[in-house]
Amino acid sequence: MSTTPDLATGPLDRLDPPALDAGVAAFLYREARLADESRYDEWLALWTDDAHYWVPSGTGDYDRDRRISFINDNRNRLTTRIRQLQTGVRYAQTPPSPMRRVVSNIELLSVTGDEVEVGSNFVLYELSLQATNELRIWAGRSTHLLRRRDGQLAMARKVVELVNASQPLPNLAFLL
């Protein structure tokens, strides 16, 4: 008896392509919604232990040990980031910015048995309620490395290349 591989059990590179596409898109949409709504614990739970969350200065094609980045978090620093937001006195996000982002142009870049690398574009509207009440628009490309963990996708790496990453930026204390 043969079974059709599914997202929970089968090698990802043996999945029916539409099933993989749908699973990846569902993950990205959920991740976006949790970030938009500043649901910190749920967002953090999407990450693997070897997490790498990177917002490069300019495009992400440089040696991170030689050049500075806006955000360059391993799991430990990412946890600190989330815990800081949860203190209630992270004034740069008190109150949290209302946000909505649109994720689109999803492309699977590579697929192996357990991992899929996926590129996507986003446009994010952020209302900076902490001082100026300014509506800020952010746009860029995300590259996720997703890995199957306990029968579900989790993210091991997220690189966010902002369109304006070569320029001075206002507060980036929310979750991209």
Partner: protein, 422 residues
Amino acid sequence: MNPGLHAVAASLDVSDRITPQKVHGSLYTDPEVFEAELHRIFHLGWSFVGHESEVPGVGDWVSRRIGRDPVLLVRTREGEVTVLANRCAHRGVQLCAGGSGTNGSFSCMFHGWTYSLSGELRGVPQPIGQHTDASALALDRPRAVDSYRGFVFANPSGTAGSLHDHLGAGGRELIDWAADLSPVGELDLTAGWLGQRSPSNWKMWAESDNDGYHLGRLHASLWRVAPGTQYESAVLAGEDRVVSTCRDRGKGHIELEFWKGYDKELAWLGAGREKVADYVDALVAARGLERAEELLWKGPPHALIFPNLFLGEMNLAIIEPLSAGDTVHHHTPLLLAGVSPEFNTRVLRQSEAAMGPGGFLLPDDATASERMQVAFSGTGGWMDLSRGLGREVLEGTDRVGHVSDETVNRGFWRHYGVVMAP
């Protein structure tokens, strides 16, 4: 400067908005004050432009502003570092776009006027019709450019006296101290710059960068989740237990002396000797045991060199004024020459944690400044800057207070009042 702005700059008197204890908030929001500052502080005075290590090779340039004027910091063919207007002498087109590059010459995109790396006009297309003698044309430049330990400053008017006097003994000591942390006495500012853009006045950044009073409150969210930093003993331990001080070194140069409150050597690096043994050995060999041990304890300075250079411990920052209510705070990690790549990577990681729009500290400072800008945007109001007036002391010509005292704010504004006098 255009005639209208020049009239504002020449006649505006802000002396009634600054008292020994109070400063009026309109100095942050008044567009006429801002124009006067561009003239009196950034045109008539010295300000920091960049560091020689940013342009190591011939033709290397980085883009900066003096006040609001775009300039290039350039390494010339002779190997000197100079500052040129980033503006064609013909029709005023910005010559170089982007933040940095390497050129053999500067050629204008519009009509092709071409300049040497030191700003002389070398070529004009279709030269038969050229009327003005090309040898009389060149890129504008500040009348005075000088450097100290690789730190390049400019005074566009050329009337501010020497850089030596602008820095004074206090400013020179601070810069020496930063450079001496390197076993070869040189910085290596090659990690790139990040900019924090903030709708707030530039002077708020000069002040908040050097405000020892706000750390416990504004940044409480970080201390709660990242215990064990050097700031606990240096500034957070309670007013009566903290022995750190602040220092007004005169001429607007102000300092927080966190190092007095550190509880161990190398606290500023978050690493004991065993982790940076090569660095310790090299520093002792270069500086001698006494100076090396002093530096290993103190770490880097935390100070403002008036008006726009922040020696922010293992960061260096430039405060760039865009308008009365708009500022960019640029920073780069204070990488050292003559140390291991791992040492500098450690500095880089620390910088990413603290600084910039995604860091754990600076976004909260931006929020506080932006709320000040909002709150003062109407008719304004006075700020009380009297904290510590009754307990600060004179050490030579320096005024020294508790690290939480506003001795430094008063020092900043006292000098501001002097240079802003019409």
